[in-house]
Amino acid sequence: MKRSVKLVGAAALIAASALIVSACSAPAQNESESAAVESLVIDKSFDLVTADPARMYETTGGIVLHAVYDSLLTFADGNADKPLPSVASEWSVNDDATEYTFTIRDGITFSDGTPLTSADVVFSLNRVKNIQGNGSFLMAGLTVEAPDESTVVVTSEEPNTAVPAIMTSPTLGIVNSAVVKKNGGTDAADAADADTAEEFLNQTSAGSGPYTIESFDTTTETVLVANPEYWGDAPVYDRVVLRNATAEAQLMDVQSGTAHVALDLGSDQIAGLGSDVVVSTSQSPTIFFVFLNANPAVSEITSSPDFREAVKYGLDFDGILELAGEGAERAYGIVPSSYLGALGPDGAVERDVDRATEAASRIGGDLTVDLEYASDFSSNGLSMGPFAERIAAQLAEVGITVNLKPGPIATTLESYRAGSEQMGLWLWNPDYPDSADYLAFGPGEVVGLRAGWEAGAAPELEAVMAEVSTETDAAAREALYKQFQKLHNEEGVIIPLFQPAASVVAASAVGEVKYDPVFSLDIAAIGR
């Protein structure tokens, strides 16, 4: 029997040793790092759905498709102030901002060598409009025509100064219309049903950008290779692997050297990194906000102006900000700090516990409200839970009891969009880098309605909104956006909290990689 014990034990030991030997005999990850820099590995937590620009409207998709497809205009170097020429070498606008004329640059070819013309632009933009996808709203109220091969005219029903910013969106990336049509694509009015080009575009890109798609997978990795036909400056890295990884896995990967760039690390994770990485931190235009439902049918408490006053002066914004980590900034208004008309600290609401308590006491009764938020969602390394807890703790000090109601985003999103949340903690990423996007926070608009804020609820504010949406003078727009936000803050239905920092961690061999406030990451600019 003793020999049996020894035999069994020996067998187990041999098996374990074989495993270890096989592992150690394979090339270690770090030994191949210098060779792998030629193939840049970027870790990102995917929300990738499609490689069809007309159907794409996600962060990861934007990163990929910004590298593969060119838009009429673009931004560069992390600067979102003024759109720059891209496919369009220049553009002009009429006096009332209802007609934009774009001149198509000479010499641009798609990755198959086909010249890019105005017909491709018209096809691409109409396809986005008619496919009725997530990004179709970008073309709302716009029509596009091509009077000749080198000119595209975009006409807006109403004055719209945001058109140049809108035209930078990767969703409006220009596709090779002949190739897409050949593979089931259409820009006709029935494109929502008739267009079948997505499957093709998920395998083969048809753009003119610095990269083409070598392989595309929404769950594991997407590989881009440099486009030899690219009309602009060639990218530094010939091959880029964008890999799906959670923030925890990204931390391990960048520490072990298996990833060169990590996009989703939070400030706590970054603090523990060594000196062999380069961290670039900048301001994200994302706005975290809390709203108080203005609909008495949802809550008589939150719809009370006294309650709004109690919350506005009961919140300790610095105390909330400290949870957001280094680099985060308080949001003084709903328009992000880098955008036209953003508010500064002058006149900002500061905590006044006495005032808040008195406002709460005027309401009387049991001040218990529910605060809903997504428990499984995070942005810029921040999840909602700690902020919700901090808000509840702060408001408890002024006599308001906040019941926390976390839930999976799939279910909380429904109640948020239905406008049935008493209080909600959410965030907003800009649809396009223009202050006009934030008129959505007004009464009767997209976010306003989520907060039960119907049109007509704030006439003075809505008058400013109407005026600024048709104003074309930059200085006047700036003044009007400031006025919009001041009035918006006074109403207190939607309370902006902070803008998080956005950090990109890169291996020292790659050098600094900057966060892009419009595209999240400009792959082609890495290494330049």
Binding site: C24, T246, M252, G257
Partner: protein, 337 residues
């Protein structure tokens, strides 16, 4: 034996039908709107776009019609399209299933070798110091939180020592071997690409070890108990009294008798591993069924949710069927009963 298998298969078909019905009905009562869950803020505010999405997902039809369409599809092998991958769910299962199966099989193999082996040792050294140590270790194995173990293992063996990669099935950007089984280890060997095989093994080891921890503990305890039970049987004493060598007694008589309950545990544990790899797959970025199911649930990808449910049910049914058949092979008394 044929009748035995036929009866089991018949029951399996009924189980699958019941699973489809229950899964479909459950998705119908899930909170949240699967159509608007796919849409951004602006798109969700546009009734035309919402209607187009509902039509695309088939949600504009009555529930009974949706069920009929779905079942008709299932009979043709069509489980609908996943909105998260824009592919047929069947294609996704064929892609992700082998990834999870490879991981679960590797974990099971580790668990059988280590857990089974140490369980036998513990039984043969019952109540001694070694047995006490092994029993404590087995308790640790079943108690250890898997996510903690995964993070610690990655921090030590991947980040610090660099012995194993921290994520994925292969190095980033490496083209997988031509697909035959979907198991990168086997397919790379079939393709004659030994360096790729080693790379696949290197990526597989750490998550498999983490995943096997609980199963090692469980198997160790079950094997120990089962072997002890058999060791107490008179026919074992008779074999020893006849002068048979210790090795022959253990491998020729003890193990055969102890295997039946152990196989049950291995089968059930394997099925659980295959269906419950979410945490490990998330931490190691392993593109398997667990990750797919988690994303499906998070995004209300209804076709994928039902597809995964059916897949997992089929796994349990298949594993139980194989286990039952193995019983009959190992112990003829069972199939005669």
């Amino acid at each position: 034996m044929a009748l035995f298998i036929a009866k089991r298969l018949g029951a399996a078909v009924l189980l699958v039908i019941g699973t489809i019905l229950v899964a479909f009905l459950l998705t119908a009562v899930l909170p949240g709107d699967a159509a608007t869950a796919r849409l951004g803020e602006r798109a969700a505010a546009d009734p035309e776009i919402v209607a187009a999405m509902r039509e695309q997902l088939g949600l504009d039809k009555p529930l009974y019609e949706q069920f009929f369409i779905y079942v008709s599809g299932v009979t043709r092998g069509d489980l609908g399209d996943s909105v998260q991958t824009a592919r047929p769910v069947m294609t996704d299962l064929q892609l992700f299933g082998p990834a999870s199966a490879e991981l679960a099989l590797a974990a099971t193999l580790i668990a059988v070798i280590i857990g089974g082996g140490l369980g036998i040792v513990a039984a043969l050294r019952a109540n001694g110091h070694l047995d006490n140590v092994l029993r404590a270790l087995s308790l640790g194995g079943v108690s250890i939180p898997i996510f903690w173990f995964a993070l610690i293992a990655t921090a030590i063996f991947s980040t610090r020592l660099g012995w194993f990669p921290s994520s994925g099935r292969l190095n980033a950007g490496v083209v997988p071997p031509p697909r035959v089984t979907g198991f990168y280890t086997i397919d790379s060997l079939i393709a004659g690409n030994f360096p790729l095989f080693l790379q696949a093994v290197q990526h597989l080891i750490l998550p498999a070890i983490v995943l096997s921890a609980a199963m090692v503990g469980l198997l160790m305890r079950f094997t120990r108990a089962s072997v002890l039970d058999v060791l107490g049987q008179e026919y074992i004493r008779a074999a020893e009294a006849k002068g048979l060598s210790g090795r022959r007694v253990v491998f020729g008589h003890v193990l055969r008798g102890a295997l039946v309950p152990v196989i049950t545990v291995v089968g059930t544990a394997f099925a659980s591993l295959l269906a419950g790899t979410v945490l490990v797959e998330q931490i190691f970025a392993w593109p398997g069924i667990g990750s797919y199911a988690y994303r499906a649930a998070s995004t209300l990808d209804l076709s994928a949710i039902v597809g995964v449910t059916i897949f997992v049910a089929l796994i349990y049914i298949f594993v139980n069927l194989v286990t039952d058949i193995l019983y009959g092979v190992i112990d003829p008394r069972i199939r005669r009963a």
